[in-house]
């Protein structure tokens, strides 16, 4: 199901300067009991966000609770999204309002899940990531999917990022893999009968 198209994102960001952020942190297992895709955003990073699971006690030093950090871009340390394959992690990030996650390294399954849900994973170099973490709270970032660039607006510092051309097309046009696969069903049937001979 295609969530939205992505082309250019220009916004503030939320810095999460932590490495190996696993999907159990992004959305703890106890919130996986839903049978629909909606509403996961309110439990995003639940145990890092609140004291003793209490919504009236936000942890002050957690970036999501800092009103000065705002925007559609989440910036995190390396190996983001490792661990469980739960797509709920990507749903929670999208539902909260993020359209892109920037890190120097993404775990495989998370990257796929993000791409399938209208969240753009942007891989940058360690040094570029450091520069972003060093920015002021009110700094903004621009991400252009067509140009495959990420730019720190204040300084103009820019880096290119990789994405395969098929996925890029999908995101820009709002297509998804399942549409593609359904369209080639006759090829799949042919493949099946060829291998059963």
């Amino acid at each position: 199901m295609s969530k939205n198209k992505i082309s250019i994102i220009h916004s503030g960001f939320v810095p999460l300067n932590i490495e190996n952020v696993d999907t159990d942190q992004i959305i703890p297992a106890r919130f996986l009991k839903a049978t629909t895709r909606e509403g996961f955003g309110k439990n995003l990073f639940r145990d890092w966000r609140y004291e003793n699971d209490d919504e009236t006690k936000p942890k002050k030093d957690f970036a999501l609770n800092n009103p000065k950090y705002r925007g559609e871009i989440l910036v995190a340390g390396k190996n983001f999204g490792c661990g469980s394959s739960r797509e709920h992690a990507a749903w929670a990030i999208h539902d909260y309002g993020f359209r892109a996650v920037v890190s120097s390294f993404f775990a495989d399954i998370f990257k796929n899940n993000a791409l399938n849900n209208g969240v753009l994973p942007v891989t940058v170099s360690e040094s570029f990531l450091k520069k972003i973490f060093a920015l002021n709270e009110d700094a903004t970032i621009s991400i252009s999917l067509p140009d495959q660039t990420i730019t720190i607006d204040a300084t103009g510092e820019k880096e290119n990022f990789e994405i395969n051309s098929y996925k890029k097309e999908c995101l820009i046009n709002g297509f998804d893999d399942i549409d593609y696969l359904i369209n080639i069903k006759s090829d799949i049937e042919k493949f099946e009968s060829a291998r059963s001979i």
Partner: protein
């Protein structure tokens, strides 16, 4: 052209390749469970399409189920709803379900192999990252997200780009009391929790060859903890002996034909790997983790790294982990008090694991303040344990033998470790809150866990054998 084991299987399953993009990979077997399937069923219903190949799907209920009194309705309302939704979806779409009460019910990665559903040369997926377990049979098996579950429902295919190839060779004989779990925790400590991201990992070498199928599954299970797309081991006599006579394994002529094919499944001598790692089995001791990712492991007699031994860039994460664990950098892990012992999960809940533990604890009793949960991986494992009298040994030792499910591996069902408590666990993840909010997990082998159950603290099990 020479190929790796992975490439041989991969090439046979490619329907077509998109220019400049991924390939369409055909999936032989699709395993599903209650947590990651409901939205996928809803998705295809919304599109108004049928499940393409329902006969290639098998379902079970494992993540959310209680492990006591499984004959009673599930107490927790949302868990019950999820399990009921699975029952309804499987009935509506003609999918075989081994749900609660069925003699084949169990953790999805335990039942696939023990029923012979998992076979060499296959492509296998499941909406669960530990699908890598099935690679122990020489298959390409990996975890997928719910959108991908929907794709396989709709077309029996996925779009995938080919991963890079890595081989990890483990050679030589293992020291006393060192198990498959220690091998994989050792590899993780060496290459880190992201060390194999982007790779398919083949495990090879004399030590791997000497492992039982259960041991091989334990190793492949944790491939995902290194970030690998999948882990696999070439099938051999051990594999074929295990497969023979399994419920859904090929029979008669089909068996002979299958066997012929399976015997071609190995990496050619001159196949090239993008990366190769060599490990000497003699260097591996009983392992234990001290931190909050599975790469943070040490030999049980080693000291936890001190701050100064950690790269400056990695220090904030390290300090955060140590604070969460309530463990001092530079200290010994041996002697650390434990409150709970959990022997179970798709990593270590097979009959061999239970036998090993039973053998070790026979005639011993658990320490006073420790709670010990043994959770078999499946109904069949549970039954086998009872047939062999293993249940009696556990009872006498003060260990609780519960009913099959994921249990305390993830804080989703009723089995949770309370905040601040230490649990030595045979599962695969020690992430913050994995076993319950605030729970502190020490990952180890079944023998190390059993030793801690007896002494009440982290112990070098080789000293007790």
């Amino acid at each position: 052209m020479s190929k790796t084991l992975f490439e041989k299987i991969w090439d046979k399953h490619i329907v077509k390749t998109i220019d400049g993009g991924p390939s369409v990979l055909y999936i032989d077997k699709h395993l599903i469970h209650e947590v990651t399937s409901p939205q996928a069923f809803a998705g295809i219903e919304k599109r108004g399409i049928q499940i393409f190949r329902p006969k290639q799907i098998v379902a079970t209920a494992d993540h959310n189920v209680p492990t006591l009194n499984q004959h009673l309705p599930i107490k927790e309302q949302l868990s019950r709803l999820q399990v009921e939704t699975l029952i309804k979806n499987c009935a509506n779409h003609n999918i075989e379900l081994y749900g609660l009460g069925h003699p084949y019910q169990g953790i999805v990665h335990v039942i696939g192999p023990e029923l012979g559903i998992t076979q060499p040369g296959m492509t296998i997926v499941c909406g669960d990252s530990h699908t890598s377990t099935h690679g122990a049979f020489g298959s390409i098996a990996f975890g997928i997200g719910t959108s991908e579950v929907e794709m396989v429902f709709a077309t029996q295919c996925l779009l995938q780009s080919k991963p890079k190839q890595m081989r990890i060779n483990v050679n030589g004989s293992l020291k006393k009391a060192v198990l498959a779990k220690d091998i994989v925790l050792y590899i993780l400590a060496k290459i880190s929790a992201s060390g194999a991201t982007g790779y398919a990992v083949e495990y090879a070498g004399s030590t791997i060859r000497s492992l039982s199928m259960e041991g091989r599954m334990t190793v492949c299970n944790m491939s995902i903890e290194m970030g690998a797309r999948c882990g696999l081991i070439a099938p051999d006599e051990t594999t074929f002996n295990y497969m023979q006579g399994k419920k859904f394994a090929p029979q008669g002529n089909d068996w002979d034909k299958a066997l012929q094919y399976w015997k071609t499944l190995y990496s050619d001598d001159d196949a090239t790997f993008d990366k190769e790692i060599n490990i000497d089995a003699a260097d591996i001791s009983p392992m234990i983790t001290y931190g909050t990712n599975p790469g943070m492991g040490i030999g049980v007699n080693e000291l936890i790294p001190s701050d100064s031994a950690i790269n400056e860039g990695d220090r904030p994460s390290f300090e955060k982990a140590m604070k969460y664990m309530g463990i001092a950098p530079g200290a010994a892990i041996k002697g650390q008090k434990v409150d709970y012992v959990f022997i179970g999960s798709c990593t270590n809940s097979r009959i061999e694991d239970l036998r090993l533990v039973a053998n070790f604890v026979k005639g011993k009793h658990k320490a006073k303040d420790v709670e010990v949960w043994i959770v078999p991986g499946s109904k069949q494992v549970e039954q086998q344990a009872k047939n062999e009298g293993i249940d009696k040994i556990f009872e006498e030792a003060g260990f609780q033998l519960r009913q099959p499910g994921c249990s305390a591996c993830l804080g989703m069902n009723e089995d949770k470790i309370p905040a601040g408590k230490y649990c030595i666990s045979t599962s695969n993840r020690n992430f913050e809150g994995r076993q319950g909010a605030g729970a502190r997990t020490l990952l180890a082998s079944p023998l190390s866990a059993a030793a801690a159950a007896i002494t009440g603290h982290v112990t070098d099990v080789s000293e007790l054998i």
